[in-house]
Amino acid sequence: MTKFIEIAGTGVTAILLHPWRSAVTAGAVTVVLLPYLVCLGLSHGLRLEAESSIQLGADLYVSGIQFGHKVPIPLVAKSQIERIDGVTEVVPRIVGAIAIGRNRESAVVVGMPVDRFATGASFLEGRLPGQNSVNELVLGSELAHRLNLKLDSRIPPFYQNAQGEKVSSVVGIFRPDAPVWQANLILTTLTTAAAIFNQEGLVNDFLVYCRPGYEDHVRAKVLETVSYRAQGSSGGPRPMVIQRTDLTAVLPTGLLGQQGVFELHFVLVFAVGILVVLVTSGLGLSERRREIGILKATGWQTDEILFRSLVEGCLLSLAAAALAIVLGLVWLRVFNGFWIAGVFLYGAGVSPAFRVPFVLAPAPALLTVLIALVVVMTGSIYSTWRAATASPAEAMR
């Protein structure tokens, strides 16, 4: 046992024998791991927010489909759904895109019935919109920042409506720590949203809340009985119902999920990382071959040299992984994902005006340590083994 501890000790010493080589190896692995870890953190944070959106949302989303595309549906269909047994509440909702401001900033307008806004909300500064002579809007933190709008700011008419346009007033601004989708949101009443889009009498969805256990029954009944067709018309959109289980099913599961090309990019980066370590740890470092030759000449066995290299690699990869975790947390928490959030969260700026969602769970952290080990070991063990199996005279040359 003492022998192994002493060989392990020489592994620690080997880190200091070539300090620049060790620093370059640990640095290269940290540089490779850091963006990967940050992206995994963003991915997990976003998935958590998405799960919350599904679990706390409506039981069913009833919309319309025509020629394979989602289309607006008439508001009058609400009464047809309310009549179905098991339905407790039906909430019409408008969700649409507009461009606003001199720089045509993209915004998402969400309109909901004014009675939905009766209670207060802690996730915004100000208050929820009400029915007033002016359009009352609650703006997302990123949008308010880009448009330089504050609470009680007035916005001149930014839309066209056949019945005339109104001045709008900012009655609330979402707090930056509300979910990420508030960033470019304009929350308002259903009437105001319909006026902004000049689409009175139409909505995008009905949020349907059911008694527990009635979801499948209500879904079947909606598909069977609800019709959006005007009287005397043979065409028109047909109902589409999305259930909570449908949404849960499309979300990726497991640690690696389905991040697609994102994963492929990092596989390539790790492959390059292995080559870097391979060059710095033996193939490109003749001094290191000479050291191994001297050790062999003084009586070291190949397995002892490999064990020494293993300890050295383990410590370097542990240092690199730990450094990547600490830097990743600082990047996401202190710097709020500066720059990288804009790369992976579309519509976010370089310095987002909202709290970037992230979760650095133990699983991604352990995966980081594992990847660091694989990168360093694959790069160093092979070159060490090649030098250790050569004759000492050859290695020392």
Binding site: L56, A121, R175, A183, V250, F262, L329, Y346
Partner: protein, 139 residues
């Protein structure tokens, strides 16, 4: 000599062949350099573990407004986009049932959409024809 002050030797001197460790008689191990590195790496690892634990413990506090927001809006947002300008499906699969730039049968065409090509949270579109529900309520 007792009481004599011995200047610590720099670890950079380890490069010299004279200081090279010999088998089972390793004078270099008596120096503080390797011990310092070992303790340093251990402390860095513990710092990372402590930071991760503290961050996960504060997760509930960070997400305090999320639940209220989603309850009020009836569930809004699902993907890695914060507006509907690019790919509405990346904002919310409920807002659009398919990626508008998915060219279907072309190989790799699902990655033509810049929002899907390198996404941190890519999900499948909701099937337009849901599974049939049998009379007993099962699918």
């Amino acid at each position: 000599m007792l009481g004599a002050r011995v200047a610590p030797r720099s670890w950079t001197t380890l490069k010299r062949p004279a200081n090279f460790p010999t088998f089972f008689n390793i004078p270099v191990m008596k120096r503080s350099g390797p011990r310092f590195i070992f303790v340093g790496i251990l402390m860095l690892t513990m710092l990372a573990a402590a930071a991760l634990t503290a961050d996960n413990l504060s997760l509930a506090r960070r997400r305090s407004h999320a639940d209220e927001f989603q309850r009020l809006l009836g569930g809004l947002g699902l993907g890695p986009s914060v507006d509907l300008a690019g790919c509405p499906m990346c904002f919310d699969a409920r807002a659009s049932f398919a990626c508008k730039e998915d060219e279907g049968a072309l190989p790799g065409s699902k990655f033509l959409c810049r929002h899907h090509a390198c996404s941190v949270l890519r999900y499948r579109p909701i099937p337009l024809e849901p599974a049939a529900i049998h009379k007993d309520g099962t699918r």
